[in-house]
């Protein structure tokens, strides 16, 4: 349906363009004056007045049509006294029957009625959709064509419109942030209406209760997120233990010791490491590293579970090595050459220069890089989903199974999503915590790096 309407819109704007061009030429000939702008600008003016109202109609229809139809169908549904209905299931059933008449066998009469109601509404909606698009395009073109006079500055108006479009494009990022913040806060508030915020932040029991039968309340579950935060922290620490030394030493080697040729080969290779999708790392952790960790744990007498904080953390560390090394590389390269020369001048060798001059000078930038890496490690999902396990476990032992914030979000939202129980809503509360922490780390890190840059510029 929507494909053909796009074709319709395309035809509409094409003809409006042609119309605008010929109309302004005609008008200026009639008046015997030259138009203030080139004919193409008048044509574009008509086109815009045709296109944008049509797009608004198009998108509002695409977004709201289904919902409105469903609401009408549901509100007109002939409920039978005493029977309990699940609205979502009911709607799905009605839709199935409406889309595929062969499903109608054996369905109750009120569902068949609702289905025919649904399809008739859809038909009405389609017809009115096409007519309203055509009407709105004609109206737009009509309005614009009244302005097609030679003394009208079409170019100025067009350039103003273009400015508006550009401003809209740049504000998409703002809208995204607002959307994130509002959806997280709104759903979290619904969660905290049922679970106290103190329990969530300070209790150590995480047994989210999933209501199985109708009528069960969810208050019986317990939502203390401390084990989840602890698990996230543990995995992050393991990851940083791997990534911080390897990444930093690699950066130092590349920036200070390596020849041009080595840099030219190694940097793209590290970029490959950075570009590998995280699910691939998850596979690697699951297939290679986790069995190895288990075997290693057994050989030193520790009972390791098949999924462990250590396996997930190590692989996550590998994932953020290129991140740390490229950021630190930049930071080390921006330490002024004069500091190096001064140090060499008083007789220090390379290692001493690096350790006593360059690293202290670059320290703020490196700290910033580490903070960014930590924020990335906390927000990483697929590696931990595959390799860290799902059982909340308050432990400091990296050989044990732990769970993280991101894992719990995924677990809560896989499968049926009923937005009336805290199990599902807890994902948004956890997401809010994640968002706030990563944002906080990020802002600090960016500030540190910025201040560091300013110092040497």
């Amino acid at each position: 349906m929507f494909f053909w309407s796009l074709v319709l819109i395309a035809v509409g704007i094409f003809s409006s363009f042609i119309y605008g061009r010929s109309r302004i030429k005609l008008n200026s000939k009639k008046q015997g004056t030259k138009s203030k702008s080139l004919p193409n600008y008048y044509a574009q003016y008509v086109l815009m007045w045709c296109l944008f109202p049509a797009l608004i109609v198009y998108f509002s229809w695409a977004i709201f049509q289904e919902q409105i139809i469903q609401n009408i169908v549901i509100s007109n549904f002939e409920y039978i006294e005493g029977a309990v209905y699940n609205e979502g299931l009911l709607l799905a059933e009605i839709r199935n029957v409406a889309n595929n008449p062969s499903f109608a066998d054996g369905k109750s009469i009120e569902i068949i009625n609702a289905a025919s109601h649904y399809s008739s509404l859809r038909q009405i909606s389609q017809i009115s959709f096409y007519t309203s698009i055509i009407i709105i395009m004609l109206l737009g073109a009509l309005y614009a064509s009244q302005k097609l006079k030679p003394e009208f500055h079409a170019q100025h108006t067009i350039e103003k419109y273009i400015q508006y479009i550009l401003i809209f494009c740049s504000s998409v990022a703002i809208f995204t942030t607002i959307g994130i913040v509002f959806s997280l806060i709104f759903e979290s508030l619904r969660f905290f209406a049922e679970v106290s915020i103190f329990e969530f932040l300070f209790s150590t029991e995480w047994y989210p209760f999933i209501p199985i039968r109708e009528g069960q309340t969810a208050a019986e579950g317990s939502f203390g997120a401390v084990p989840i935060f602890a698990g996230t922290f543990l995995v992050m620490v393991v990851a940083m233990c791997v990534a911080a030394p390897l990444g930093l030493l690699t950066a130092i080697y590349l920036a200070e010791y390596a020849s041009q040729r080595v840099r030219k080969i190694v940097k793209p290779l590290l970029e490959i490491l950075a570009g590998i999708p995280t699910i691939v790392y998850g596979f690697f952790a699951f297939v290679s590293v986790a069995p190895f960790v288990k075997a290693f744990g057994q050989s030193i007498g520790i009972d390791a579970s098949p999924t462990s904080a250590l396996a997930a953390g190590m692989v996550m560390g590998v994932m953020i090595i290129p991140f740390i090394s490229s950021l630190s590389d930049d930071v080390i390269n921006s330490v002024p050459q004069s500091l190096r020369e001064g140090s060499f001048g008083i007789g220090a060798n390379k290692a001493e220069t690096i350790k006593k001059v360059i690293l202290p000078a670059a320290l703020p930038g490196i700290v910033g890089a580490f903070l960014l890496a930590i924020s990335r490690a906390i927000g990483e999902t697929m590696i931990v989903v595959v390799a860290a396990g799902t059982a909340p476990n308050l432990t400091g032992n990296p050989f044990e199974n732990v769970t993280t914030v991101t894992v719990q979000i995924v677990v809560a939202l896989i499968g049926d999503q009923e937005f009336d129980n805290p199990r599902t809503l807890s994902a948004f509360a956890l997401g809010l915590v994640l968002f706030v922490i990563t944002l906080f780390l990020n802002i600090i890190a960016l500030q540190i790096v910025k201040r560091y840059r300013e110092r040497y510029e």
Binding site: F2, C169, I174, T176, L246, T250, S288, V410, G431, T438
Partner: protein
Amino acid sequence: MNNSVAKEKIVSLRKKRSLEDMRFKYYGFTAMCLSLAVLVFLLYTIFSKGYTAFQKTIVLLEVDYNQEVLKLTPDSSDEEMEKGKFFRVKKQAIENFFPDLSKSDIKLIKKLFSINVDNEIKDYFLENPEVINTKQQIWVTAHSDVDQLLKGNSRRDVPEDRRKLNDIQLSYVDQLVEENRVKQVFNNFFFTKADSRHPEIAGVAGSFMGSLFTLFTVFILSFPIAIGASVYLEEFAPKNRITELIEVNISNLAAVPSIVFGLLGLGVLLNVFGLPRSTPLVGGSVLALMTLPTIIIACRASLKAVPPSIKEGALAVGATKTQAVFHHVVPLALPGTLTGTIIGLAQALGETAPLIMIGMIAFIPNIPTGLTEPSAALPVQIYLWVESAERGFQEKSAAAIMVILIFLFMMNAIAVFLRNRFERKW
């Protein structure tokens, strides 16, 4: 005397210091090599686990296309042929697979064949309707358990109750191998079929198409918006609070965890706007929002790289600012913006978590044909297969990873090509 002691001290100190220098250098070198070694090991693991998925095991089956069993006649119409009783033919073929089989053995042998065998027997017949009332030797797909056994992925020396195939089945498989009635051929199913509960007929075609549709949506949404935003911020935006806010916002958005974008998609696109779940349309929109900051940053860099003299030249001959920017600066920056967009798309291709959030994790056994149809995506498919308990799926997940890596590699190659071909040094 005193002098020589001091000299010795200095020499030994210098030795120690240069040793220290060497050691430090080797620390760095080792760290770099370790990181690269992990990369090699990672690729090796994927290849060694995955290359077997490109082959499948087929078994020679003698099928008797008897017209009475099929309930067809030589001049049946096409529709009638579609409805032929091929499962009965298959049953007969399996009963006669080895001479003198007992009932319990027939049951066991049935499990050596893929569930798809009915279709294969049928397809063979539909292609060659003249084989009616003849016996045909047909190669059909073996069950994943046989496949894994013959590829050496599942071991036969574990106790019987922990094996998928019991001793009797093993002996039959061995007999087949001896009689040359099994062989390994190229696994076309992997590239032509969508996901399935049965590993031997599961493929990446469905999720590949899903990923393509998703990337298409990402491109359609993010490319124009990113160009618009970066042109505005680079060329038109006044230096004020709001502009600064937008810039800070973009740089912070780039570091928001991807899973949070998934929550945005779930909370806003699905719950508020009611867009269809599990579809490339929603997945693509979420990923477009996610990659937008990356692309904007790249686009701004390439706009910045165009020398101001070009814009000034246009202004000097009387162009308006809009004309100067859109007729001169943007076309020159276009290759750079395209490169940035492709890199953003590559990032979007590998994202898994947001797609799980908006329900692209559902089991979809057919190949999607549009933006608003439920579909899978490659990375989510990999996740589903990694998590699957069935042994046959492990090689599939590694092979799917190879597909996604090759896809990524090609996108990056295109980006590099564009950069080298069209980039101008000013």
